[in-house]
Symmetry: C2
């Protein structure tokens, strides 16, 4: 349905799907955190971030322009780093 | 596969799925832009943003904490507004 209400309902569904993927991603990031703890590896890996961004932009068919895709994924990467710190603190409290 | 390479491959797939959803969302935002142009309605609707965020946080089952989910979606909403401006400029140039 292409009136405002219908379009907003569709966006609500997409928001929820994005949320699920963000959490699925975070669960994988949690596993990486544990691996990195075992090997004493830095969480922040700028080469890995650059590589992910490059892959994402290569696959971007729009309509979002690359600079806006980059902005959203920078936020996703930033929150993942935050999350690695948080999930590490919780481990240390156990 | 739960070694670093395997986990990164899984994250690459999720990044791509998120990208597709962001673009699907942007296509809907484009339709909303056109509707709002017809009715002369403001693009920025803080009540609608608050409502979307509230729905999203109500559905958040983790592991991401609410504040990090909020950070990512603030970025998504911000880029959507930017995109509405860009997609409007392109229309005016036609």
């Amino acid at each position: 349905m292409d009136n405002l209400t219908g379009l907003r309902k569709q966006i609500n569904l997409i928001n929820n799907e994005i949320l699920k993927l963000l959490n699925k991603r975070a669960a994988l990031v949690q596993k990486i955190t544990m691996l990195k703890n075992e090997t004493g590896t830095d969480y922040y890996d700028p080469m890995r971030e650059a590589e992910m961004l490059s892959d994402i932009l290569n696959q971007n068919k729009g309509p979002l322009p690359d600079e806006l895709v980059k902005e959203v994924f920078s936020s996703i990467f930033h929150t993942a780093l935050n999350y690695m710190g948080i999930s590490n603190e919780r481990k240390l409290l156990v």
